[in-house]
């Protein structure tokens, strides 16, 4: 091939579609790269390597967990309760941890959702006095940045106060309050979900154009009516996104569960009252089950830990897909923050 030919082909638009074009593009790239400094080439190569590595790591993680999950998980495990046992196959299933995770998610979301949405509405729609609004915003940033282990140990201090004895067991001889129960863990866990619900809701509210509110006022609606009839319906998908993100964080948090749920293998009611007793009682979630059954924990049943981790992964991936499903209708990117 003559050099003139190569030159013509490398001109954009001349090469046409298909093989010749991609070949000439490759040649052009090679031509350009030969002029580059070695350091720049290393930079480009490193960026490609890191980008591809991310995909490989994520794929390996998902495939490995999937492989182990299918290997060790059986239908029987999903519907039987965990038992104490010396051998791995004696330790029963993961029904109680799954129920525990769901209970915690329900309880924590039920507390966090009104708190976060209410706070976001107040900040955007009222936000007076201004200094208080600023303090509230930084308080939420502090919660988002605080280590969950510190939040957990704060919860322990609160729920071991004598006046909190209704939330968990107390020692029979009038000793200290145990301070560990579903109520304790769920309440403290709501702080974990709060920032993501708050942030998505606030950003959505801020992106509602001013004239939408003015149109509503113009029709004679009050601020409160505008919030209920106009703003809340508009930002509902964003609240849903934030809630799903928050649920994912709740399902994945281990520190709060380890400190505040008492880590009993089965759900153990704290009193005789049917439903309330369960919430006053202790139990485990998938995360604490994995933690306790890993080689560093007390149970040391890695097969069971893999099975539980697989279920937890499915849950997290499911919540993530929910986020992107809702996110498709929203503008902007949904990368974690």
């Amino acid at each position: 091939m003559s050099t003139v030919d190569a030159h013509v082909r490398s001109t954009p638009g001349v090469g046409g579609a298909g093989g010749p074009s991609s070949r000439s593009r490759w040649q052009r790239l090679r031509g350009e790269l030969s002029l580059w400094r070695p350091l720049d080439l290393i930079g480009v190569a490193a960026a490609w390597a890191v980008g591809l590595l991310l995909i490989v790591v994520a794929a390996a993680l998902v495939l490995y967990m999937g492989f182990r999950g299918i290997q060790y998980l059986s239908l029987d495990m999903l519907i039987s309760r965990p038992q104490a046992g010396a051998e791995q196959h004696d330790t029963g299933g993961i029904l109680d941890p799954m129920v525990g995770t769901l209970l915690i998610i329900l309880l924590a979301t039920a507390i966090a959702l009104p708190l976060a949405v209410g706070t976001a509405l107040w900040i955007v729609e009222y936000g007076r006095p201004r200094w208080l609004a600023k303090i509230v915003e930084s308080a939420i940033e502090v919660i988002a940045g605080a280590p969950s282990i510190a939040i957990a140990i704060f919860g322990l201090a609160i729920f071991q106060l004598p006046m909190m004895s209704w939330a968990s067991f107390s020692a029979a001889d009038g000793g200290g309050v145990f301070g560990r129960s579903f109520i304790a863990a769920g309440t403290v866990m709501s702080l974990i979900a709060l920032p993501s619900i708050f942030t998505t809701t606030r950003e959505a509210l801020q992106s509602v154009p001013r004239h939408v509110r003015e149109a509503s006022y113009g029709l004679g609606k009050t601020r409160w009516a505008t919030i209920r009839r106009v703003l809340l319906p508009t930002v509902r998908p964003d609240i849903a996104t934030g809630t799903a993100l928050g649920m994912g964080r709740i399902a994945g948090d281990t520190a709060i569960i380890v400190l505040l749920l008492g880590a009993t293998i089965q759900l153990q009611a704290g009193s005789e009252i049917p439903l309330v007793g369960t919430f006053q009682g202790t139990g485990s979630t998938l995360t604490s089950y994995i933690y306790n059954n890993s080689p560093t924990g007390e149970g040391n049943a890695p097969e069971k830990a893999y099975a539980a981790a697989f279920v937890l992964m499915l849950m997290i991936i499911g919540l993530n897909m929910l986020v992107s499903l809702i996110g498709r209708r929203r503008a902007g990117n949904d990368l974690p923050r």
């Binding site: 720049d40 930079g43 480009v44 490193a46 960026a47 490609w48 980008g51 991310l54 995909i55 790591v57 993680l61 998902v62 490995y64 967990m65 009104p114 209410g118 706070t119 107040w122 900040i123 009222y126 609004a133 509230v136 930084s138 940033e141 502090v142 919660i143 988002a144 940045g145 605080a146 280590p147 969950s148 282990i149 510190a150 140990i153 704060f154 201090a157 709060l194 009050t222 601020r223 994912g248 994945g252 948090d253 281990t254 520190a255 380890v258 994995i290 933690y291 890993s294 560093t296 893999y306 981790a309 937890l312 992964m313 997290i316 993530n320 990117n333 949904d334 990368l335 974690p336 923050r337």
Partner: protein, 318 residues
């Protein structure tokens, strides 16, 4: 409902959130006070064996003598700082490269794959990273990376069994990069196209244009991402308690390669492991003192991180 009462109703949760934060700092500080008062600044000092001190606190039981309150937490503080700094340093480089790849280099189809990948990596619970660490990475390090000579050379000080600095930092980096990538991608996308095109028009190669114009313009965002990520890395308890080897030991860089395999235990992991025996008053106040250190430093980091982020938003890059 009238407007006035609606404002009050919505103001309640807002004020509640602030009260919770204040209560958190106050409660932890009150519980931490006896330990800090007893040890003073020597709290940060080092002693022969921090694990023995903690063991003594557990054994001292409910009416502990004053000597049980003694704690020299340097190995734990050092382990926290070491894992955080290493993970954030590696994480910053990788996430800048990854963000450049996503925004400027990757073919659109590949870039579309990375967004969910990053989101997934951010969403994987720390306990699963810990599980994979202890069941896959730790045996690999133990069987293939640590040589017998290395094991013997430090056998009289510390047994090398796999868990330690290397696995901790690798997993910690993996856990914090997604957050950093997300922030840096946002910033890179916000750099006006014209700036880079100006550089290209001057005959600079596209990589040079990216590095000298775009990356330079988003330096505050990179700093903010690193600061926020270190707040996250600082508080990671569960994963590190699983793969760090859980020994109150300070790995020294001048030990050579062995440095990477030496076990350690950061503050957060210590809290998670000792929370069971928290009824013993000496242990209780020590654990709360550790929590106070973590809380204050992460508070400082997240506040300064968001301050940097805020100046960026007002700055020229948008």
């Amino acid at each position: 409902m009238s407007d006035r009462s609606a404002e009050r109703l919505l103001g309640i949760p807002a004020v509640l959130v602030v009260l919770v934060i204040i209560a958190m700092i106050v409660f932890i500080a009150i519980e931490a006070w006896p330990s800090l008062k007893h040890n003073g600044l020597a709290w940060f000092g080092s002693s022969a064996d921090v694990d023995a001190e903690i063991g003594e606190m557990v054994n001292a039981g409910s009416d502990a003598p004053a000597s049980a309150y003694e704690l020299r937490a340097w190995p734990l503080v050092y382990a926290t700082a070491l894992t955080t700094i290493l993970a954030v340093a590696i994480g910053t480089v990788t996430s800048v490269l990854a963000a450049i790849f996503v925004v400027h280099l990757a073919p659109p189809r590949l870039a579309a794959v990375i967004t969910p990948v990053v989101r997934l990596l951010a969403a994987v619970p720390s306990v699963i990273y810990g599980l994979i660490g202890i069941l896959v990475l730790v045996p690999f390090v133990n069987n293939h990376l640590i040589t017998e000579e290395q094991r013997e050379s430090v056998a009289y000080v510390i047994p090398l069994t796999g868990p330690g600095l290397l696995v901790s930092v690798v997993l910690l980096t993996l856990m914090i990069t997604p957050i950093m990538i997300a922030l840096i991608i946002d910033a890179l996308r916000a750099v006006p196209r014209g700036w880079r095109e100006g550089a290209l028009a001057l005959g600079v190669t596209s990589w040079r244009a990216i590095v000298s114009v775009s990356v330079r313009a988003i330096r505050p965002a990179i700093v903010a991402a690193a600061v926020l990520a270190s707040a996250r890395a600082l508080g990671e308890a569960i994963m590190l308690s699983m793969v760090s080897g859980s020994k109150g030991f300070s790995p020294q860089p001048w030990d050579g390669l062995i440095f990477l395999f030496e076990p350690l235990r950061p503050l957060a992991a210590t809290i998670a492991e000792q929370a069971e025996g928290i009824q013993a008053p000496a242990l209780r106040t020590s654990v709360y003192a550790m929590a106070l250190m973590l809380l204050l430093s992460s508070l400082f980091l997240s506040v300064s991180g968001s301050l940097i982020k805020r100046t960026l938003r007002l700055g020229t890059a948008r």
